[in-house]
Amino acid sequence: MSFTHVLGVARRSPTFAVGFGAILVFALLAAFADLIAPLPPTQSFPYETLRPPGSGQFLLGSDGNGMDVFSRTIHGARYAFGIALPAGAIMAVIGIPLGLIAGWRGGWVDEVLLRILDVLRAFPTIILALAIVAATGQGFLNVILVVGFLDSPIFARIVRAEVLALRNATFVRAAVAAGNPEWRVLLVHILPNAILGATAQLPLRMAWAVRISATLAFIGIGVQAPAPEWGAMIRQGAEYVISGEWWVALFPGLALIAMVLGLNLAGDGLSDLLDPKRRATGK
């Protein structure tokens, strides 16, 4: 991996490069939020509420509680990664084995997975997530678990599709014929080949997780108001939009879009980079 390689990747998939760059920026913001943010995210200045951007210490204005929108937006990145990474991990930890077994063995595991997917198809996940979080409690941890678990079958389906395509691949047959035990066929021969296509989908699923957790917070379940979460901040800003204080809702929204877009671009670009057909034509 040299500089020319980086350039090559960027040339071949500008989408991936831009998306990856955006994620990187947000990662830095999240990591060094305390250093970058001029004010603590939940420090309230009761006499300086709803100040427009650029007034005094409030670079992007202040909200109804007199908190700094800029600092809160930066700290919001922590919530975004706080949901994206663990939810992605849950999807991978549940989805990969589930998809592997469902795709390779078929049988009841596959049946159950397919029925769950049927239900999810007819039962929009956003409503399901809402209902579950509303029913089971509104902590951030709960949101992470619900989002992660809800998306696991979808991730499992992606892995399953890859495994199904590989199951009748000649090299898998050859591996069985060579005398590989089943676990070795699965782990050494199928998994490394199945995982690549699924990996490209992970950023897309993470983007979905970030979006849905913000949506939950916007509706008022999930992360609650003073916490610097982008969805919760937009909810706070919603009431000021008709009275002209646009900045409270605008900036967290922009941050949310940039983060989700970054993940989407990265995922989209990644699937292009990993697509053997495109690689073969060298375009």
Partner: protein
């Protein structure tokens, strides 16, 4: 001497009603190559999968070195696989793309308690440049990849190698090298081979005996020379006459048999070829015709053989 592989009354039905293999029996002796010839839908690849128990048959028996392996579990089969090997048609797809050639060659040794250092010897044996050991499959040519597959197959000194169209996707000049390698290996180790192909010339070159399949049934078997010189079954005659020898000075002698192979769903009760056969008798549709002897070691499943009226009239090449 017991046969290395004996297939007895094998039947295989795929879900959905496709009867791919229809009461097939044959045996292969040590050191022998049996050629299995057929067009698409003849069930030849399915027989290859059944013989190596990568697929379980619907009915019938498979004996490997005298042991019944028809219903053995995957775990019980595993040690046997050292001696029962297979090489597939598509060399580009037959090797795990994420393993180096070196690791691919070590794998069979690792699985059956061999010495990993032998991987280099294997590479040398199949005339694979040692420089390829560190490479990945996509960096090799089709011929080289097929050599890797063959090296993997011979790693544990097998008694039988099933070769499923091993040279069909290779270019002509590369093909010859692979065939030569296979012949040498058989001469040196006495390994038996089941050579599955649609390519008549190649089968004729490498096989001692040949079985001709049509819609999952063996219609004719015999020593390669006899079968190719005096084919008995009208289908075999048709197949051979349709072949285009790569020599403009050999005149074509065409039997104008029309139509194409019917779908292997809802097969008729009698001879499957009767629908296309110019010599078909009403009796041909009654039931599956029994094998009739033609010459020493050669027999065909055709009623016309009994009174020797099985010869198709050749139509001269119109050109």
């Amino acid at each position: 001497m017991t046969a290395v592989l004996a297939i007895q009354n094998l039947v295989h039905r795929f879900p959905g009603g496709v009867q791919a293999v229809n009461d097939v029996s044959f045996a292969i002796a040590p050191g022998e190559t049996l050629g299995l010839v057929g067009e698409s839908g003849s069930g030849k690849s399915t027989i290859g999968l059944l013989a190596t128990r990568l697929l379980a048959p619907t009915q019938g028996r498979i004996l490997f070195e005298g042991q019944d392996i028809t219903r053995l579990s995957a775990a019980t089969l595993r040690p046997l696989r050292a001696r029962l090997q297979v090489v597939f048609q598509d060399p580009w797809g037959a090797l795990n793309p994420r393993m180096t050639i070196g690791r691919l060659l070590e794998e069979p040794l690792r699985l059956h308690g061999g010495n990993l250092a032998e991987a280099r010897l294997l590479a040398e044996r199949v005339r694979l440049p040692l420089a390829t050991l560190g490479r990945y499959p996509h960096e090799l040519s089709g011929g080289q990849l097929q050599r890797v597959s063959i090296a993997r197959a011979i790693a544990n000194r097998p008694k039988l190698i099933v070769l499923d169209e091993p040279t069909s996707s290779l270019d002509l000049s590369v093909r010859a090298g692979i065939l030569q390698l296979l012949e040498e290996l058989q001469r040196e180790t006495g390994v038996a081979m089941l050579f599955i192909s649609h390519d008549l010339e190649t089968v004729r070159l490498v096989s001692h005996r040949v079985a001709v399949l049509y819609l999952g049934r063996i219609v004719e078997t015999g020593p390669a020379a006899a079968l190719f010189e005096t084919p008995g079954h009208p289908y075999t005659q048709t197949l051979l006459s349709a072949h285009l020898p790569p020599d403009p000075f050999v005149a074509l002698r065409r039997h104008r048999v029309q139509g194409e192979i019917p779908s292997p769903i809802n097969l008729p009760p009698g001879c499957f070829f009767a629908g296309r056969c110019p010599l078909a008798l009403p009796a041909c549709n009654a039931g599956p015709p029994a094998m009739q002897p033609l010459a020493p070691g050669q027999e065909a499943a055709c009623l016309r053989i009994a009174d020797r009226t099985n010869r198709l009239e050749p139509a001269e090449d119109p050109a």
